[in-house]
Amino acid sequence: MQVNENKEFEPVIVAFCCNWCSYAGADLSGTNRLNYPTNVKIIRVPCSCRVNPMFILRAFQRGADGVIICGCHPGDCHYTSGNYYARRRITLLYSMLDYLGIERNRTRLEWVSAAEGAKFAETMQKFTADVKKLGPNRRLEDLRCRKQ
């Protein structure tokens, strides 16, 4: 994403949503007409445990400014344990990114149930706002992918 003076910075935000809870939650916020920024683009995965850390890095490489993962609340995983594994993996990954000096607010994980349409919308509004504050992703970007 380029920032140019006349136009305010619009971050690219990738949201990985588990099919059973969070994706349904996103649908619900749609059904209830709960607005959240267009910056957020959702990718459907069967479970939060399907999200490979490499996908997250890939997103940043290709020009994402923020990546958020949403899954079923702990205990509610459709596959019983998926989000527990995801929780450990993502915690460690985010910690490592932080360790490498990548801005913390570029990454997030939220548990959003199929019933929490409102929470989904709020989460996305907040996250987008946080990423906007940070400005474009530079520390984890691949210059070759930058749009000319």
Partner: protein
């Protein structure tokens, strides 16, 4: 002979870098040296050599060859070549200097590699004579005299002064460009220093290493040698030796999809890698033994065979100190030699 007092060296660097980019070896905080673009105040490293060789300047580890711009279904080809800036590499050692003549044989032979030539034409190599060779040095084996290095221009250190000598017009031009800072000087002390260095050369552990048993005609007796199994046994298949080597010139060409286009780039390849020279049908060298053998056969047999006797090694000793398992060309030569 023209000289400059070492205390004035930075004035010289400032003068050079004012006209064109200047690169010289500087010390890193980890004790190793690497080439850096000169910025005022930098001091030149006294280290014998840099971790990465000077070949990067003409044959960088990665370089973009061509771009493809994709819009919907159309693809546009974009030539990204542009004239290189003029630059000077200062303080190159004799071994690395020789490596350029080896690389030239590869990249400047028909068909000429325009990317390489571009840089070569715009680069001036100013070498620095060695005074304290290391135990890993064996350039002498390949007929290199580190006290009288090649390169466009050569420098000599007698302790207080740096003396300059042009080896060709490019070198002369360089010296002329800084002539105002130079003065005539007496090279007597320099000769002592050179003698000392030469004396040390004789005492080097590898001083006796010779190439007489190697060369283009030795293919059959070495290719099938049963020694390769033992020699390659511990090889990790990493690319360290090839990447620190000043003469390794194998590369791979790859496409990178940026999402809105393709960047076709070339990058160093290593014969130690499992996908080295992998082709549609697969890989001609399936085992580490074969790949390991390739590297040394190339330097000691194939290369001389194709370049009238010139070996593909300059004895800089980098692989000797950098190989994670300390397997290297010297051990290979000694093991193979038919006594």
């Amino acid at each position: 002979m023209l000289k400059i007092s070492k205390s004035k060296l930075n004035e010289l660097f400032d003068a050079v870098s004012a006209k064109q980019a200047l690169y010289l070896p500087v010390d890193r905080n980890d004790g190793a040296a690497e080439y850096k673009k000169y910025e005022s105040g930098m001091t030149m490293s006294s280290a014998l050599n840099t971790v990465r060789s000077a070949k990067d300047f003409f044959f960088p580890q990665t370089e973009n060859l061509v771009d493809f711009k994709m819009e919907g279904k159309n693809i546009e080809v974009i030539d990204v070549r542009e004239e290189s800036e003029d630059f000077v590499i200062f303080g190159v050692r004799a071994c690395d200097a020789r490596s350029f003549t080896i690389l030239d044989k590869v990249f400047l032979a028909e068909p000429v590699d325009s990317y390489y030539k571009n840089r070569r034409d715009h680069g001036t190599v100013v070498t620095m004579a060695c005074t304290r060779p290391a135990e890993t040095c064996f350039c002498k084996t390949f007929g290199i005299d580190p006290t009288v290095p090649e390169g466009d221009a050569a420098c000599f250190d007698d302790g207080e002064n740096i003396f300059f000598l042009a080896n060709n017009d490019k070198g002369q031009a360089f010296i002329d460009s800084i002539a105002s800072l130079l003065e005539e000087g007496d090279a007597a002390k320099l000769c002592e220093v050179q003698e000392k260095a030469r004396a040390i050369m004789e005492k080097l552990p590898l001083a006796k290493l010779s190439t007489e048993n190697f060369g283009g005609d030795k293919l059959t007796e070495y290719f099938n040698s049963e020694k390769w199994a033992d020699l390659s046994e511990a090889c990790l298949g990493c690319g360290t030796c090839t990447f620190v080597c000043p003469t390794c010139q194998c590369y791979d060409i790859k496409d990178f999809n940026t999402g809105h286009g393709i960047k076709r780039f070339r990058c160093w390849d290593s014969c130690m890698y499992s996908d080295f020279t992998k082709m549609a049908h697969g890989n001609p060298r399936l085992t580490q033994l074969e790949r390991f053998r390739q590297r040394f056969m190339h330097k000691l047999v194939y290369f001389p065979a194709n370049n009238n006797g010139e070996f593909g090694c300059v004895g800089c000793g980098r692989c000797l100190s950098k190989c994670p398992i300390s397997m290297n060309i010297v051990k290979v030569m000694k093991a193979l030699e038919v006594k």
